[in-house]
Structure formats: structure tokens, C-alpha cells
Amino acid sequence: MSSEPVIETLGLSKFFGRQRALDDVSLKVFPGSIGLLGPNGAGKSTLMKCLLQLQPITSGSAKLLGREVGREGREIRKRVGYAPEQNCHIPGMAGCEYVTYCAQLSGLPFQAARQRAHEMLDFVGMSQERYRKVDSYSTGMKQRLKLAQAIVHDPEIVFLDEPTNGLDPKGQAQILELVEGLWRIHGITVILSSHLLHDVERVCQQIIIIARGKVLVHDTLENLKARRRGAAEVVLARGHSELQAACRGRNWLCDLLPNGHLRIEHQSDTLNPLLTLLHELRLPPLEVIPSPNALEETFVQALEISHAAA
């Protein structure tokens, strides 16, 4: 991790009239792939918009890439990409024209903008449809286009607001693969806002859980999983009932899940007792998934605490 935070907020609050959308948010986010989790209306999009200056901050301060938000808007946004949740194309333009135009708005000269636009459209997997008017695109194509325009100017950090909304499973997998590669391969910090835990778990290393405008959890996925140790999912080719019986003998809760996996609560910080048992039973596992629902459980727990506090 770099020592310089990419996002730094101090007491950041945002009100819409009397409604509090962000409540005293203080964060230090370091480069990486960061998942912004929360239920609908939690304040995820508002936080992104405040950082991008799409919404004015009511109180507090924020820094993006080391620069004060609100003072150096243009300079910050040259280095930042944003794919909003809703459709926001420019009517009457073909896909490649639109991405070229977005690159020019970010300060790329025309030739470079056009070249980058085509490269990014290749990158997001759009072929000949790039020459069609954006108005005629399907939801999946629009999502790809939004991603292309967000990264066309080679930003250092990219904000993606619900990028898999409205996509079929194949499309979701492709977009997530791209997003995952942005940080892992190309070193672009990704802030992925979603209410889909699976998406965030797949792509992100750091998790921020936000609800009612407050940051409830901010930690690495690894640490969150470590907090929820004591459960695992085991995939076996045979011997399900044998393992279930052995678990019962040790007072471990063992459930057969609809997908054929066994969920075992082994009540230990490590997988060693479970692996020893499998060895003793001579049941080679096909896969052992530690803390399979750690993020979901953390998320639900955080929300429960938040509700109780409210």
C-alpha cells in the first residue's frame, strides 16, 4: 500500500434540506480496489458525488489524490474517472464519438482522444456497435460505454457506481473481470459502489460499509474475513453423510446447502481442525472455502448495529 491516501475526508457532512445524507464521515483510503457497500439510500452515491464535486459539501473537508476538493476541481477531475449509476450519454452521438468527446473534455487532444476511445472500446469488449448511436444501445452496452468513458483519459482513480446494474450474468462477469484488472494489472484505484456483496467481494481488497450516511466499517476484506472465522464451506465428491456424522460427534454445526456444499461451523480460528478431520475420514475435499459469507455477515451485523443505535 502507498503511504499517500487517495481519499481523505474529515467530518464530511452533506444535507439535502433537513435530510442528512452524509454524517461526519472521516476516512483515509489508500490506493487499491475499494468496495463501497451499503443498502439503497445509504449515502454511497452522495459520498462519490461530494468527492467529485457533483454535490457541494455542507460541512467538513475532503481531499482527493492529495488535492482539496472544491478548490482544484478541474485538476482533480483530469485524474479521476466516474461511471455514474444512471444513463447519462449525450444524445445523437455514436459510441466512439461519445467516448472521444469525453476524452477531449478530460483534456486529451483530438488525435489521442480518438485513438484512446477506440482502445477503450476494445478493452470493454465493444466491437462494431461503437459506430451506432448511443440512444439505440442496450443496457449492457451502455454500462460498457460508461466504463469506457470513465477510463478513457487514463485516470489514477475511477469511481464506479453500480456498474453491473441491469446486466445479465455473463455481462456482469465480464464487467467485473475488467474492473478487477484495473487495479490488479493496471494500477488504477477503483472505488466500486454496489449493494451486491458478491460483486464487491470478487473485486475489492478494501471494504467500506456505509449506512444512514455513516461509515460503519472500513477495513480490508482479509481482516473482515478474519473477524468471522470459524466457518467454512466444504465441497466433497462423496462422503457427505459421513462428514456430517463426524461433525455432530464434535458438536460442530453442519448443514447441507442446496448447491451440495457442506457448511461447517468448526469454531476455530484456523482450518486445521477441519482439515485434520477430513484427513482422518479419508475424504479428500474438492474445495474448502474459509469464511464463505464473512462479508455478508459483517454487512448484516453492521446494519443491525446501525439500526439499533438509531
Partner: protein, 331 residues
Amino acid sequence: MPLHDAHYQHWDGLHTSIWGRRRVIAQNGISACLRAKLLRYVVLLSWAGGLVMAAFLFFLGQVLVPDSLLVRWVTQISPDMRVFVRMFTSWLVDHPEVSVGTTQNVLFYYYGVYSMPVCIVALGMALPALITRDLASNAIVIYSSKAVTRGDYLLGKFCTAFGVITLTWLGPVCGAWFIGNLLAPNWSFFWHSRIALLHLLMFGLGSAAVLSALALGVSAVSSREKSTPALWFIWWVLGFAIQPIAVHTLPWLRHVSFGYDLRQSALAVFHLGRELQTAEDSIPIFGQMLSHVSQQTRDALNHPTLGGSVLGLALMLLAAGLIIRKRVVPE
């Protein structure tokens, strides 16, 4: 295509300046406006008008200079015409500023004022491409997330409207001045018409700025593509229709019409009353031609209601500014 085959490459070139980005917004806006076929026809019509004007100036130049092609040709055909032509040519010798300057000043006034409707119609057609569509498609969010501010966006859109006005109004009339004087028999025409050009630019640029800002305001009123042009045309026609009624009842009500206010400004800028008086005093034939102009008309020409017009336009611009401030925000 397989996603892994596509490579992401970092870009480390030099960024364009903020003025470059503003230019891109304006350029894109003008292209979007010109996608409407009807607007392209209006542009062609305007330039055709400009060419007619240039032809008229060419003809005027030919008439005024003794050894011009036209004069030589006419006198060859009919020696009797020589006296008549000599009368015209003596104007240039005796009163060059009047025969060229005043004539062009009056011509530009009439061309400027009476071709303005074409430009207003063109702006009406361009309105959806200014802000309306961006509001409808949430494109404001995209602009706001790029390296431009709301001010840059509005400046770009302002230049778009200004560009449409230039294409349909300022461009043709300035082109007519240039071509007309370029084809004149001698270069002094450029010099003698400098004041007329100055008046034209003062009025044209000022009016274009006002009309552009008003068009932006109307364009931001709604996100429906049909509503904003309808509102623009209703405002314009209503302002035009209200004048004969308002003149006898509530004269200040005339200032609700931006067309009226701009015409009054034109009278003040071109000094039309003074120019006609100079022409009457200098060249007798003008005196005879203008003798039938009523005193009421002369008063109207000499004393335009400039204060009221400026105030009216200022209030309209204020309203446009407030609308833009309220409406042109991301979401």
C-alpha cells in the same frame, strides 16, 4: 471479443488547455445543431441573403466611381446616361463618407434588423442542442465529472449559440461588407465604410451576446425537446404582437419583446436619424427622397428608447441567469 486480448495502455501526453476544452464543447454543440437539416437550409438562406447584399454593394460601388466597368458600359450604350451617372459619381468626390459610409450604415441597419428574425428562427431550432437535451439525458453529470466546470460548460454552450448566430446573421452581413468592398472599384471604400462596419460589429456582437444568453436561459427551462423551441417562438411572436397594442396603452410593455429592445438598440448604435439627416443635408436627392418621412418617424429614429430597452434586456438576462443557475446542476 475476448476481453483479455484488449490491452489497456497508460497515456502520458500533454493535456489541452481549458480554452481548448471549451472550444471542444462549442464545436460539438455547433455540429449537433447543424445535424438538423432545416437549420442547414436556414444557414444557406442567410448566406444567400449575404451574397445579395454583397451584390448590391458591388453595384453601388460601380455606380459611384466614374471609370468603373458598369459606368463605362452604361455610357457606351447610351451617351444620355452620362449626365445621370456623373451625378452619382460626383457624390463620391464631394461626399465620400456619405455616399459610401452613410449608405452602408443604413443598409447594415436594415439588413441587421430585418434579417434578425432568420437568426431567431435558427436559434429556436438550435435550442434543444444547447442545454435541453443535456438535461433530458443527464449529460450534465458527464460534463461535471470531466475536467471542466459548470462555467466552462456554459461558456461552451454560449459559444455554440453565438456560433449559430454568426452562421446565420453576423457572418453573412460581415461577409457582404467584405466582399462588397473588395469588389468595389477602389480600395477607399473599405476606409469610407469603417464607421458603418464599427456600428455593425457593435450592434451585431452585442445582440449576438444577448440573444445567446437568452437562448441558453430558454433552453434550460425544460428537458423536453419540443417545449423549449415552442417557448422561444411564443415569446418572440407575443413580443412582436404586443407592440401595436402596448404603444397606446402601456408603452413600457413593449420592452417585454427582446426583438423590440434590440431594434431600439440598433437605432441608437447606428445613429440612423443623424445619418439620414446628414445625407439629406449633403446630397439633395436624398433630401427629396426623405421629404415624405413624417415627423413622428423622425422622432422615433432620433430618440430610441434606449434606457428602457437596456433595462428590459438586463432583466431578461437576469431571469435567464437565474434559470440556468437553478436548472444546470448535476441531477
